[in-house]
Symmetry: C2
Subunit: 507 residues, 2 copies
Amino acid sequence: MPPPNPAPPLVGTLPLGAPLPGENLQRWLHRALRQAMLDGRLPGDSLLPGSRTLALQHGLARGTVQAAYDQLLSEGYLVARRGSGTRVSQTLPDRALQVGSTRRRATPPRADVQTVAPPSPAGPWIRRLDHLEPAFPLRPAAYTLQPFQPHRCDVDAFPMDVWRKLHIRHLRDSRRHALWDSDPAGLPALREAIAAHLAIARGVVVAPEQVVVIGSVQQALDLCLRLLVAPGEAVWMEDPGYPGARQVMLAAGARVVDVPVDSQGLRVADGVRAAPSARLAYVTPSRHAPLGVALSPARRVALLRWAAAHQACIFEDDYDSEYRFVARPIPALKSLPLAEAHVVLAGTFSKLMFPALRVAFVALPPHMVEPFVRGASLTARNANGLSQAVLADFMADGHFDRHVRRMRKLYAGRAQAFEDAAATHWQGLIEVPAAQAGLDVVGRLLTLDETTAVRRLAQAGLMARPLGLYTATHRLADALVMGFGAFDEGRIHAAAKAVAVALRKPG
Amino acid sequence: MPPPNPAPPLVGTLPLGAPLPGENLQRWLHRALRQAMLDGRLPGDSLLPGSRTLALQHGLARGTVQAAYDQLLSEGYLVARRGSGTRVSQTLPDRALQVGSTRRRATPPRADVQTVAPPSPAGPWIRRLDHLEPAFPLRPAAYTLQPFQPHRCDVDAFPMDVWRKLHIRHLRDSRRHALWDSDPAGLPALREAIAAHLAIARGVVVAPEQVVVIGSVQQALDLCLRLLVAPGEAVWMEDPGYPGARQVMLAAGARVVDVPVDSQGLRVADGVRAAPSARLAYVTPSRHAPLGVALSPARRVALLRWAAAHQACIFEDDYDSEYRFVARPIPALKSLPLAEAHVVLAGTFSKLMFPALRVAFVALPPHMVEPFVRGASLTARNANGLSQAVLADFMADGHFDRHVRRMRKLYAGRAQAFEDAAATHWQGLIEVPAAQAGLDVVGRLLTLDETTAVRRLAQAGLMARPLGLYTATHRLADALVMGFGAFDEGRIHAAAKAVAVALRKPG
């Protein structure tokens, strides 16, 4: 509490200034005395008044003064000797530190005690990424999306009222036990709900014990790399493919083998030729990111047979497979025989619900569960408990299925609108395949290179990502990755027209 | 929706079974046909009825049948040739996979195509931990704590009603933008609130831009190791010290140098002698974990001078420094000059509020902010958005300070009760220092070795951790780490008596 009278009190004749707003008397006294010592107003070896004297002088409780003195003693600002009272230390902790400090030198030699060179974040982990554009923006994304920003879902259709009610249900005294750490592998109710969902929606039969809740698919991939791949060992990456996956592989020190993708998905035979003994293969079999193709049945078989023959792990990123508009979602690779021991299926609720949720999961081969949970505990601890409890109810009460069904219909309408708009406005300019799934498509540029196209779109307040960002080998035709999921049909038509104007304008 | 009449429908004369509860007709038809093919009831090359015929036979919509057929086609179960109708595939995807599967061999050779050996989580990361007890339990902790389980806070005193109201405030349509990804470095309002808190409570002046929100202190340490330390490079670890820190260092491949701790904290000179060019030092300067001592002013100076001279990073784990009962909390090491470029301060709300929250933070040297955010994005993405928004309000509205003050008083009372109970019941048995801070103390065993003591306590439904778990060098006296924070004063007295009975019983 601030004192009733804020006039500057004194130590002897020393002005100490007033307490700051919200600062209590003990903290104020500590700060004021320390400052006076640093300023030289209380020089080294000065004798301080006894705590009783100072308290009386300033109308403070003696305990307040004693506590401030104790604090300064424990920090080394004061020294107390039996019979000689409390004195200012001859060498203040701050002074001792400043002696060696000469900040003027620009590039101090490493072993020079006189310098203050900051420790450099230059471990091999970060150096491997130095030359690459970060896979995720380091600054916050704007809420107002520009069409046709890809990889974005629509958060306006999320049932906020249901979400609020479920939170209220859990934020009660009777649920106080949920404030404790939950199971390090995830809340049991949520693991069960996810296992049930996987069985019905993805054709994957796993025990709830094989499901582990984590924060993101990135985290799952990072952990699998750490568990399975030693630095220098090979991993297969889809080419083109998701930059976040490729960068976390590079950071882990893996030898990234870029395996081409064609209309049937990953060219497994090319991977086997290039790196038969790779430890892990990253694939998006249900809907390739970003090309949108599905991994063909023959390639699925070939991939699983390779993994079985070489004790390799297949990391199946099942990021938005629920959103298939023409038939039901293609069953996960994880649903096939042989997959049990070899496929890690990773999925996220960030795309299906909303990004800020940050709850994802893996369905693991049984023998990987314990190492994975141990790794997750050691490097992250567990996911937020309340979100897990609320999400478990959201699934168990049927809200999740309803939401996904509603969104599938919504996105299907937008995919159709996008196809129609492209047919109307982009003839001879961009060739767009029918979007049968997901939230985005890759449109091939017929007249412009992708750098020029992206620049012109940006000038018009529009957005697309060049396909080149998804490959490290640059073997691909010029194309744009464009999203339709986050924009309503009116906006899609208007923006498609604006895209045509922007791309057709002379040079 | 299940059909009104669940009698088994037929394909020709083939019984297909009934839909499962919650299974729609398309999914049922897909599943039933696939099963019939796998069972051999629909052999390879069988001609299927046209979709119109099958629909009429079973009273289904034609679109339903067509969708199920499309799905089976895309999965490779059916083949369609122009003019020859739709037939069952000669090689079902599942069959092709099962050919190579012979699960009988126990230890299959690696390159044998005939085997299904699972990929082994045997990367160097996990192998380095093989011989160690996991630092964090792999199974969920029980809600009912046994006295005197250490390192536990009290969740019963948390203001659940306030927490609920703040959630309701944010779960509104007008806050829908919060469903998007927040800033990858953390919600700006929360970073500001943490910076303000650090200035007042910890004496640390940092810009909000230097504060990064993450999930846990473990995660912060793991990232700093990855950013700063190459495999084989040395890091200093407190001995005894926090096992979670030591294990994440080992996992990262660092050479862990165990530096002794005495009554003044880390023996910095020993560290300098053993590994002067270590890249990072892990310390708990405000209250050593688990011994409870504070790092002395002289050692603080020595530590910072060493770091400055060797471009090393000091990782300051400030895990429960708010809870000091006799004077105000000791300012953080990070508050001293020289610390700006060399000290990473990490703190968590899990101890100050409740464990399931899983929100923590770091205050970083300016040059480390961008690499750290990049690393966090790549390996975890960002923290849960709603928890960040609610916590920011909890801090800005003054609830956090009130809660910490209330808990400090509560824990101080329990510390006193524990001291009193020990004096009453444990004379000649356990020597317990006065607990001036934190949630636990280390009691020295005067008659028993710690393994025997822990076993006898467990038999009586009591709990303590042997001090030996906190060291890898085993140079320490037999002692128990015991927590008082989560138990009320009545329970402390009763349990202290029970401890004495358990430890005094004949061997």
